[in-house]
Amino acid sequence: MQWDIVIGLEIHVQLATRTKIFSGSSTAYGAEPNTQANAVDLAMPGTLPVPNEQAFRYAVMFGLAVNAEIERRSVFERKNYFYPDLPKGYQTTQLARPIVGPGYVDIELGNGESKRVRIHHAHLEEDAGKSLHEAIHDSMGHGMTGVDLNRAGTPLIEVVTEPDMNNAEEAVAFAKKLHGIVTSLGICDGDMSQGSMRFDVNISLKPRGSDTLGTRTETKNLNSFRFMEQAIAHEVERQMDILEDGGTITQETRLYNGDRDESRSMRTKEEANDYRYFPCPDLLPVVLDDAFIEEARNSLPELPDTRKARFMDQYGLNDYDAGLLAGDSKLAALFEETVLHGKDAKLSANWILGEFSARLNADEKSVAQAPVDGKQLGNLVARIADNTISSAGAKKVFEALWAGDNGDVDAIIDAKGLKQVSDTGELEKMVDEVLSGMPDQVAQYQNEEDPKKRKKMLGGFMGPLMKASKGQGNPKLFNEILARKLDG
């Protein structure tokens, strides 16, 4: 049977506020355990939450960026469950009146088409702490769970989409688009390895063309685009196997292990928690006035779609390159810095999307962690553009920059002797010398009538020429001179 895949996403986005949503504790990542967990975060008796204005501003900015209605009167509710990393015994969240109402995001697909993914809503809530289950024992040797509450109370927005995606490509495209939006807005650092964005994927299958949705499963806490893609492929296959064998899908929450490409059931619907939501008596309704929302609207920076259009217009980039560069705010900033110093926009784009991105991936680094900055890349591009170095030489300079021995492009070119000889008189002399030493090859070339073969044979002279010039002759000029002398 042919199946339709139906995918909806829930995305937890950690907001880049300095402090927690309900207390003045720092949210800085990587602190010693529990040094950023105060009396409110620990749920000490008698403490009361005071909401962080910036979290609301960020949520409103997000809502405006995804074309959503903003709820002016936000109410918080308690979602009750027991877990060691949730000291209060409930998560303060929103249910009936989330701050961001229905909106949408348009995604671009590989075939050049675009698709609209609707957002059901997005709500503000607090993150839980972290539980560590490994190698902790009490004095009796019983296994214990260690709890770090530094993350407890970090503001999140949970974005819930409609089930508008039909394959892994669309889901990943949406996830990347959302990542580009929140990082461009500056409301999230986007660092997925640190859990700043976490994805839950709801998947169901239905017979092709059917109007009735199948039973869905939810795969939780995917923290990379690659794992998300793999987890979807894995879950679709698992459900298809069950359905084709005449089985039924159990509505359940599953955990995916990306390192092993395995998933297991976490809890089924029957075991699902009854969260007993009710309005939080510790918090009054938060009312946002028009001035607050307009201020947020005026502070919206350039978003990926607008930036892409500008890159195509201002720098003459093609649709594909512009989309890649504009989609990530840090990459976009690096590109503009590179062009500022390197002038040649197309060459800058090629280097960033080529060599630079390849090295980032190979070293598993983010743009911010890259050892090469836009000014260095720009200087490198400028030296390629003005023929000071060949592209092979440029790769050597890039490697040196990446290794960080010396930050100055021109100094590296000098130190490594990579400067191309572009003096035509000097090059011409070398060509004459090399040709006079290869009379047989010259005769063979001149007797060949097929222009394709001639072109290929021209390459045979390049090796000796590069040798004669100690690798520093400008290959483009060598080619021109060769063609002129041999054909003329």
Binding site: P33, N34, R276
Partner: protein, 95 residues
């Protein structure tokens, strides 16, 4: 409205409270009375009344995003039942 033994047992599990059979019978009566009271409230016509999120007719004050708290881990962990390497310890939970 009535509440069944099964409801009471379920709520007890959710609240992590242990109740024995005798207590369940007593709770059945007490909670039943409370729910009857709620039923009386439900009988009121609230057609044109905006749902109330909080009994106070006030609006939440917000706080600027500035760090105001310092590290007081030592003081908090002095009263914790068990800690190790800065972590609070709890009986092991396995997902």
């Amino acid at each position: 409205m009535t509440i069944s033994r099964k409801d009471i047992e379920k709520v007890a599990v959710l609240a992590r409270i242990q109740v024995d059979d005798e207590q369940v019978s007593a709770l059945e009566k007490d909670l039943g009375n409370i729910l009857d009271l709620v039923d009386q409230l439900s009988a009121a016509d609230t057609e044109s009344v905006e749902p109330l999120a909080h009994p106070l007719d006030a609006v939440q004050r917000l706080r600027p995003d500035e760090v105001t708290e310092t590290d007081q881990r030592a003081a908090f962990q002095a009263i914790a039942p068990a800690t190790e390497n800065g972590l609070y310890l709890a009986p092991r939970v396995i997902e």
